[in-house]
């Protein structure tokens, strides 16, 4: 196995270079003074200034952030319920359809989801007059439908890992089912909900295709604005925008990474404590 390690290292280097060089190039050229993206005209932060004065982009970003926050929150609520149903309720009538519906949005080509949701909104408007026109509401509904699938998968797999007798123990000790959920289940799966929320937020912030279908004339999200600009060619302020987004994500991920390694260390410390505690107990039993 040792002889093969050069091959493994090589595949890692090539693979990660492939993943990261494009992102690096975006960042480097965001500081390029020249408007021509490929010619280095010296260091400059002027594109960031330009970005901050671009009301269209700022407005779209603000809309996208609000949409992402709301739809991620709704998706976590619905996805948690769906995950509970799949992981804890056992067989019931319509379960197969239900589990199919929860996972299908994950892989459904976005053009199909987008088109079908738009046609639904149009039909609903004809029939019941709601939603009146398309805008933030329809975008949020569409994003919830897409992202709750991811939350469901995360919550379901966390719940299946969780020892079910924890919930039974709480009930055995006198807690009613809803109390069991809030006192035991929710705190234990909370990290999974948090990562589900973050994933839903990111997906919502990033979605172009579905949003383009269900957005109205006055409600362009950030990806829609970027797409229309990018179609016309490379523009340095988009590089600046990309750099800002990458930086935010990188900071978020490093925080998560640090937290994870801290947890790891805490776990190791706890394991040692447990070991010491065990020794202590055996000693005391011998004496007693």
């Amino acid at each position: 196995m040792q002889g093969r390690s050069w091959f493994r290292t090589l595949s890692l280097i090539v693979g990660f270079a492939f993943l990261y060089i494009p992102i690096a190039s975006l960042i480097v050229y965001s500081f390029n003074a020249s408007k021509l993206v490929t010619v280095w005209g010296g260091f400059s932060t002027k594109w960031y200034g330009a970005l901050l004065q671009n009301d269209q982009i700022l407005g779209a970003a603000w809309l996208s952030l609000r949409v992402a926050a709301i739809s991620a929150t709704v998706a976590v609520v619905l996805g948690t319920l769906a995950g509970m149903v799949l992981a804890r309720f056992g067989p019931f009538k319509g379960r197969t359809l239900f589990s199919g519906l929860t996972t299908a949005p994950l892989v459904m080509p976005e053009v199909i989801t987008g088109l079908s949701l738009l046609l639904l909104f149009v039909t609903m408007e004809q029939l019941i007059g709601w939603p009146a026109g398309r805008g933030m509401t329809t975008i949020i509904i569409a994003h919830v439908t897409l992202t709750m699938a991811y939350v469901t998968v995360i919550v379901q797999s966390r719940l299946t890992q969780m020892d079910e007798s924890l919930e039974e123990a709480a009930m055995d000790l006198g807690a009613r089912p809803w109390k069991v959920f809030f006192l035991i289940t929710l705190p234990i799966i909370f990290p999974a909900l948090l990562s589900g929320w973050l994933l839903a937020f990111t997906l919502s912030l990033d979605d172009l295709v579905i949003t383009s279908f269900v957005a109205g004339p006055g409600s362009s999200t950030l990806p829609m604005v970027i797409f229309s600009k990018v179609r016309l060619g490379v523009s340095p302020d988009i590089n600046a925008l990309a750099t800002i987004l990458v930086t935010i994500v990188a900071i978020g991920v490093s925080i998560a990474g640090v937290a994870m390694s801290r947890q790891q260390k805490a776990r190791e410390r706890d394991a040692q404590m447990a070991l010491a505690a065990n020794q202590q107990m055996i000693e005391s039993l011998k004496k007693g």
Partner: protein, 303 residues
């Protein structure tokens, strides 16, 4: 938790009903509507299609099924070609993802635990940055006066820029680049779970490392390979952004065709028919993936 059924019938029903209704209304019903509209006539109106149901005479409800849209799809070889081309492009992209992703996932899964977490983080990190901006980055790299061409010319490999942007090559690059994490994750989680003593047992029984890989690791990782391939292939067939930004404007991809029919030609019935046809093609792989996913979940439940 069978007990919920008895102990809290109303709570249980409520918990099930809310997400169920949401998914029925916003995911299943829309497909029914798409199906309905795919059978109706295009019209210059808002919405731009004729209703399927007509009050033909006073009390006669008449259903007009218009198969014209589907006939149109069959007759016009533009659609045929786009379907076939999409499947071909998605297939090649899946294969490329597998060829790049497998060694990466393997190397990640076999590295020591502390670096493993960092590598995993690095692999999913791009997934959290904007998909659109990552595709956009390749425009800057692949343009005629872009980084790649400039670098090649500076090294003296080529004398004049190669046309890379707006070619199939660029589309493959974009596809592999965007969908690689979808291949990496299922492969990694499969390979990481593998019991390494199996390889030691194989070696003990006389297998050379490459034989052990072919006879033990590879067959055991097959579920991960299949899941990864489907996760890449299914969305890639309907991909719209990558061919529009990196591909030749004339490149036929079914996602682009649908988009054009809908937004540019405003022909909703034909767009719906295209969607239905695409869905019919994808329904088998989607169901397969669904079943595999559920089986994996039940498995988790039992252990």
């Amino acid at each position: 938790m069978r007990r919920f059924k008895r102990l809290l019938p109303r709570g249980r029903t409520l918990v099930t009903t809310v997400p169920y209704l949401w998914l029925l209304l916003f995911f299943l019903v829309p497909f029914v509507i798409v199906l309905k509209i795919s059978f109706s006539q295009s019209a210059i109106a808002m919405p731009p299609y004729e209703p399927l149901l007509h009050w033909a005479s006073e009390k006669m409800l008449q259903v007009q099924l218009n198969l014209g849209n589907f006939a149109f799809l069959v007759e016009d070889n533009l659609y045929w070609k786009s379907y076939l081309n999409s499947i071909f492009v998605a297939g090649v992209s899946t294969l490329l993802c597998l060829l790049i992703g497998y060694p990466m996932a393997y190397a990640m899964a076999r590295s020591n635990p502390s670096t493993r977490n960092i590598l995993l983080l690095l692999a999913v990190l791009p997934f959290f940055t904007s998909f659109l901006l990552r595709v956009y980055a390749w425009i800057g790299l692949l343009k005629n006066n872009g980084l790649v061409n400039n670098a090649l010319m500076a090294m003296g490999v080529i004398d004049e820029p190669i046309q890379m942007l707006q070619t199939d090559f660029a589309v493959y690059i974009g596809m592999v680049y965007s969908y690689l994490p979808f291949m990496l994750l299922p492969l990694y989680s499969n390979l990481e779970k593998m019991d390494l003593t199996l390889l030691e047992a194989a070696a003990d029984l006389g297998c050379k490392p490459w034989q052990a890989f072919v006879k033990v690791t590879l067959p055991l990782s097959l579920p991960g390979v299949i899941a990864g391939c489907l996760l890449v292939f299914i969305p890639a067939v309907g991909e719209f952004v990558i061919p529009s930004l990196l591909g030749d404007p004339g490149m036929l991809m079914i996602g682009k065709v649908l988009w054009t029919e809908f937004f540019n030609n405003r022909d909703w019935p034909v767009a719906s028919a295209v969607a239905i046809a695409l869905l019919l093609f994808l329904v088998l792989p989607i169901m397969y993936l669904d079943r595999a996913q559920n089986a994996a979940n039940e498995e988790g439940e039992r252990t």
